[in-house]
C-alpha cells in the first residue's frame, strides 16, 4: 500500500504544471463568475461550471493513457521497479495518481462552484455531488486509458478509451437506454450536464458505485496485462 501511495503522490508531483494551469483556469472562471451579474446569467454560469467540470474527464484519459509511456520513455520506471514494487502495486499507484490529479481539480472546482453558484441559489450539496460524479467518471476513464496503454501507445490508448466510452452514447441513441449504463461514464456525464437551477437533481448513487466497481475491474485487467509486458528494451 505504501509504495502505491508514494507512486501516486509522485505522479501528482510530476503532473504539477498541467494541474496548476487547470487550477488557474478554474480560479479565472470563478473570478469572472463573481464579477458578472449572477442572477441574470445564472444558467450561463452553471453551464460553464458543468462544461469545465467535464474537461477533467478528457484530461483523465490523457493522464492515464500517457502515464506508463512517459515513464518508459524516460526510463525512470526502471529505478522504481527495481525496488520491492510489484507491477500491480505500480499500476495501483498510477490509478491513485490519476484519481488524485482529478480529485484536486474537482475539489478546487467544487470550492469555487459552491461559492459562485451558491450565490446564484444553486444548492452547495448538489455541487459536491456533481463533483463526486466527475471524480468517479475520471477514475474509470483514466483507468481504462491506463489499461489500454499497457499494450498500446498513448495516442491509440486514448482513441480506444474514447471509443469504449462512446458505446453507451451510441446505444442510448439507438434506443437501448438500459444498456447505456453498462459503462457509467456516459450516465455520470449526463447527470452532470442535466443539472439545472430548476431541477438540481436527486443524488443517484448507483452509477457512482458501478463506476468504482468497473475501475477496480479495469485495474485488475491492466495489472494482468502489464505483468506480461516487457517494460524495458535493450539500450544497445
Amino acid at each position: 500500500m505504501k509504495p502505491s501511495l508514494l507512486i501516486g503522490v509522485n505522479f501528482v508531483r510530476e503532473q504539477r504544471w498541467p494541474i496548476l494551469v487547470l487550477l488557474i483556469w478554474i480560479l479565472l472562471l470563478a473570478f469572472l463568475g463573481l464579477i458578472s451579474n449572477a442572477p441574470r446569467g445564472q444558467e450561463d454560469l452553471l453551464f460553464i461550471f458543468k462544461q469545465v467540470a467535464l474537461y477533467i474527464v478528457v484530461f483523465s484519459i490523457f493522464f492515464g493513457g500517457s502515464a506508463i509511456y512517459n515513464e518508459r520513455k524516460t526510463r525512470r520506471i526502471l529505478a522504481v521497479l527495481s525496488k520491492a514494487v510489484g507491477r500491480q502495486e505500480y499500476l495501483s499507484g498510477l490509478v491513485l495518481g490519476v484519481t488524485m490529479c482529478c480529485g484536486i481539480y474537482c475539489f478546487s472546482l467544487g470550492l469555487t462552484g459552491s461559492w459562485t453558484l451558491g450565490q446564484a441559489g444553486f444548492p452547495a450539496s448538489q455541487v459536491w455531488f456533481l463533483m463526486l460524479c466527475v471524480i468517479a467518471a475520471c477514475a474509470l476513464a483514466g483507468t481504462l486509458a491506463l489499461m489500454f496503454s499497457t499494450f498500446l501507445n498513448p495516442f491509440f490508448a486514448a482513441g480506444a478509451t474514447a471509443g469504449v466510452l462512446a458505446i453507451p452514447a451510441l446505444l442510448s441513441h439507438l434506443g437501448l437506454a438500459a444498456w447505456a449504463d453498462i459503462m457509467p461514464v456516459y450516465t455520470l456525464t449526463v447527470t452532470v450536464m442535466g443539472a439545472s437551477f430548476q431541477s438540481p437533481g436527486i443524488p443517484v448513487w448507483s452509477p457512482i458505485l458501478l463506476a468504482i466497481a468497473e475501475t477496480i475491474i479495469c485495474w485488475v485487467l491492466a495489472a494482468r496485462i502489464f505483468a506480461r509486458v516487457d517494460i524495458a528494451v535493450a539500450v544497445e
Binding site: K2, P3, L6, I7, N10, R13, E14, T74, R75, R76, L78, A79, V80, L81, S82, K83, A84, V85, G86, R87, E89, R228, D230, I231, A232, V233, A234, V235, E236
Partner: protein
C-alpha cells in the same frame, strides 16, 4: 567533493552466515545459494509479423556466487543489458528461467535485497536527498533510519554537499552517483550495476572501486557490467564475456590473465643476439617461449653462461582476452576456468 580514496566507510554486513575466503579471494557464505543464476535463458525480441526477429540471448547459463564481484563483459548488442533486465524482472524470457537470491526472477519482495543501477540512469527531478529517501521508502524503509541512511549513502558517493540540490541540474557523473546512492540505500545483499562508472572522473572511479571492494569484504555480491576493462581487471574475482547472446568466455580473472601457454624469461649476462626475439633493457634480456619450451630455454641460458632473473607466465590484459573472445568465434576459449 568526492571522498578521497582510502577513506570510504565500510558497508555493514547484514544477515550473513559464516564467511570464508576461498583461494580465488571470493567470499563463500556457507549454506547460501548462488546469488544470481541464469538457467538456459533465451530472449527473442519479436517485432511486427514479417519483421526480422532479434535473438538477444541464446541458451544463456551463468551462476554468480554469493560474495564475489563478477564482471559481465561484452560488446554493444551482446545482450548484457537484456540479461540484467531479465534478472530484475523487467522482461520475461522467451524460454529458460533464473533465480536471484534464491527466488525466481521478477519476485518483487526479493528486490528489497537488491540494489540496481541502470545504464543511462534516469531519475525524477527532485532534491538528491529526498530522491534517495523516495527510493528507500519504496523498499519499505522509513523514519529516521531512512533519513540517516540517505545522508550516509550520499556521503559515500561524495554528494553530501549537493544533497539539497535538484538532480535535474546535476551533471551526468553526479546523476550516476545519485543512481549509485539509490542502489545502496537499502543496504542490499546483491548489487547489479550496469556501467556504474562510465560517466565518472578518475577520482570518482577510484572511490567507486573502493566502494565495491568494501562491499565484497562485507559479504555482498556485485554483478558488474562494464566496458571499462581496466576497472573490471582490478576489482572482479570472475569475469564472463557475452557475445551475440552467448557466453564465450568465463573464468577467474587471475586465471584468464595469466596464460598457461607462454612463459616470459628475464635473464642477464647474455648478449641480446644470443636469443632470437629477445629485447634488452638495463643489461637484462627479456623474451617469451611456449610453456613446453621453458626448460630448454633455461638450459640454453645456463649453457651460454647467462643467469636467470625470473621465469613467469605471460600476463595478458583483459582487453586482449576480450578481443580474442569476441573476434567471431562462438566457442569458449580453451583454458578458461568455470
Amino acid at each position: 567533493m568526492l571522498r578521497p580514496p582510502g577513506i570510504v566507510k565500510s558497508l555493514v554486513p547484514q544477515g550473513f552466515g559464516e564467511i570464508k575466503r576461498s583461494p580465488g579471494n571470493t567470499l563463500r557464505i556457507s549454506g547460501m545459494p548462488a546469488a544470481l543464476e541464469f538457467q538456459k535463458l533465451t530472449k527473442e525480441y519479436r517485432g511486427f509479423p514479417g519483421r526480422k526477429r532479434l535473438l538477444a540471448l541464446d541458451q544463456f547459463s551463468l551462476q554468480v556466487e554469493a560474495g564475489e564481484i563478477f564482471g559481465f563483459l561484452g560488446p554493444n548488442g551482446a545482450g548484457k543489458s537484456t540479461a540484467i533486465h531479465l534478472a530484475m524482472g523487467f522482461m520475461r524470457p522467451t524460454s529458460g528461467r533464473g533465480q536471484m537470491l534464491g527466488a525466481p526472477f521478477g519476485h518483487a519482495a526479493t528486490r528489497r535485497r537488491v540494489g540496481f543501477l541502470a545504464e543511462n540512469v534516469a531519475l525524477y527531478h527532485r532534491r538528491a536527498e529526498r530522491l534517495v529517501r523516495f527510493y528507500g521508502a519504496l523498499n519499505g524503509m522509513g523514519g529516521s533510519r531512512l533519513s540517516a541512511r540517505a545522508r550516509e549513502v550520499l556521503e559515500l558517493v561524495g554528494l553530501q554537499d549537493d544533497a539539497g540540490r535538484n538532480v535535474g541540474r546535476f551533471s551526468r557523473g553526479m546523476l550516476q552517483r545519485v543512481g549509485l546512492a539509490q542502489a545502496l540505500v537499502s543496504d542490499p545483499q546483491l548489487l547489479i550495476l550496469d556501467e556504474p562508472t562510465s560517466a565518472l572522473d578518475p577520482a570518482a572511479r577510484v572511490t567507486v572501486r573502493e566502494l565495491l571492494l568494501q562491499a565484497r569484504n562485507a559479504g555482498k555480491t556485485i554483478f558488474l557490467s562494464s566496458h571499462l576493462l581496466s576497472e573490471v581487471e582490478l576489482v572482479c574475482d570472475r569475469v564472463a564475456v557475452l557475445h551475440r547472446g552467448r557466453l564465450v568466455c568465463l573464468g577467474r580473472t587471475s586465471d584468464l590473465l595469466h596464460s598457461a601457454e607462454e612463459t616470459e624469461i628475464l635473464a642477464r649476462g647474455l648478449s641480446v643476439n644470443a636469443i632470437a626475439g629477445a629485447t634488452a633493457r638495463n643489461g637484462e634480456i627479456r623474451f617469451s617461449v611456449p610453456a613446453a619450451g621453458q626448460k630448454a630455454a633455461v638450459e640454453r641460458i645456463w649453457s651460454l653462461g647467462g643467469e636467470i632473473v625470473s621465469v613467469n607466465p605471460v600476463r595478458r590484459s583483459l582487453e586482449e582476452i576480450f578481443l580474442q573472445a569476441t573476434s567471431g568465434s562462438d566457442d569458449v576459449p580453451s583454458g578458461a576456468a568455470s
